[in-house]
């Protein structure tokens, strides 16, 4: 089983300074530990809406890649967004979902359909033209550049378990300063 933080460390090597990364909850805390950037969009507010925020950003800034680091429990709350995103078909949106089968941020309880739900299949059926899934770290390392080289919307399910525990700093996540720094960085160029 891949560790989520190890996946993100590999992914981070392929993220440029112009990319926007929308990361939600547990994924967000791992991501900002691994790759600090003012273009980290970690303030999605209500659970499940990460992909919807990303769609707005992808439409608003078609000149940038928008990479979503979603969770399986979060995506289950907003499965319709897969259909919406696929329908709009932003070529610059890359949707990674960490599939750990649990509501990690809420006590580690199992998601409905744990080990049964086929997230790649759902995304494919929703209309995402390019869908992937990874459960082997070396394979992910070898193929992630190709995944990010596809025309979006792209979907990739990452079969993971929690790695090192990141600091859960909700003041950073919810603080106005983080949003202001994102806005300034986005407006800068």
């Amino acid at each position: 089983m891949m560790k989520r933080d190890e996946c993100f460390e590999i992914l981070a090597r392929h993220v440029t300074e112009d990319d926007i990364v929308v990361a939600i909850y547990s994924s967000a805390f791992d991501w900002i530990t691994i790759r600090q950037s003012p273009l980290n969009y970690i303030f999605t507010g209500a659970m499940g809406l990460g992909s919807s925020h990303a769609l707005g950003l992808a439409l608003g800034r078609p000149d940038r890649r928008v990479i979503v680091l979603d969770g399986d429990g979060s995506l289950l709350m907003n499965l319709g967004s897969l259909v919406t995103v696929a329908s709009v078909a932003p070529p610059n949106l890359y949707h990674f979902v960490s599939v750990n089968g649990t509501y990690e941020a809420n006590g580690g309880h199992p998601i409905p359909g744990q080990s049964v739900v086929d997230f790649k299949g759902i995304a494919n059926s929703a209309g995402y033209p390019n869908c992937f899934e990874f459960s082997d770290l070396r394979q992910f390392e070898n193929e992630v550049a190709s995944v990010l080289g596809q025309t979006g919307p792209v979907f990739a399910a990452l079969e993971v378990e929690q790695g090192k525990q990141s600091v859960l700093d909700y003041k950073i996540m919810h603080g106005a300063k983080t949003r202001e720094e994102f806005q300034a960085a986005l407006n800068a160029k």
């Binding site: 969009y41 303030f43 999605t44 507010g45 209500a46 499940g48 809406l49 990460g50 992909s51 919807s52 925020h53 990303a54 769609l55 707005g56 950003l57 992808a58 439409l59 608003g60 800034r61 907003n78 319709g80 967004s81 259909v83 919406t84 329908s87 709009v88 919810h174 106005a176 949003r179 994102f182 806005q183 986005l186 407006n187």
Partner: protein, 177 residues
């Protein structure tokens, strides 16, 4: 925020609402269809070359999309039914109130009786809307006739300037004219 009805004007043109929304710099509309506004607003918006219509599956998606667009300097508005507004309240709580984003919505008050103030409606789906918004501290205005059209642009501009969320309640079925 309480706006008692003081008139009996029975016309509300969809074209007037659309023109006011466009004059406020809105160029994207996010919508789940609502029979209250279907003919007078959604069909004309779908045909309007100056507006991009994005059909979403569930109303709270529109809140997230609007927030992303806001950071990119683009103005959007959602067109939903009052039921959809109620379904979106947690997203509005987070993005509109906690993060102070200008999430703007046109909300069809399905079942509001003519010349009855929304909170006096016999339809509970209508009567609770303004009290709920008041309890959350969300600015709202009733658009019930042509006389209310001049409210729209200033209200949207104010929402973006502050910034804060805004709900425009569509009190009667707009004409498709």
């Amino acid at each position: 925020m309480i706006e008692p009805l003081t008139r009996t004007d029975d016309r509300l043109r969809g074209s007037s609402i659309i023109a006011a929304v466009k004059s406020a710099g809105i160029n994207i509309v996010l919508s789940v269809p609502d029979i209250w506004t279907s003919k007078g607003l959604l069909f004309p918006i779908a045909d309007d070359e100056e507006l991009r219509l994005i059909r979403v599956c569930k109303e709270d998606e529109a809140v997230g999309i609007s927030a992303g667009l806001f950071f990119c300097g683009q103005r959007a508005i959602s067109l939903v039914q009052s039921t959809g507004l109620l379904d979106s309240l947690n997203a509005m709580r987070a993005m509109g109130l906690q993060y102070k984003q200008p999430i703007c919505m046109l909300v069809g008050l399905l079942g509001k009786e003519p010349d009855v103030a929304p909170r006096d409606s016999k339809n509970v789906g209508v009567s609770i809307i303004e009290p709920v918004l008041d309890a959350m501290g969300i600015t709202h205005h009733l658009v019930d006739s042509e006389a209310d059209i001049p409210k729209i642009r200033p209200a949207i501009d104010a929402a973006y300037e502050k910034p804060e969320p805004l709900i425009l309640l569509i009190g009667r079925r707009p004409d498709a004219s």
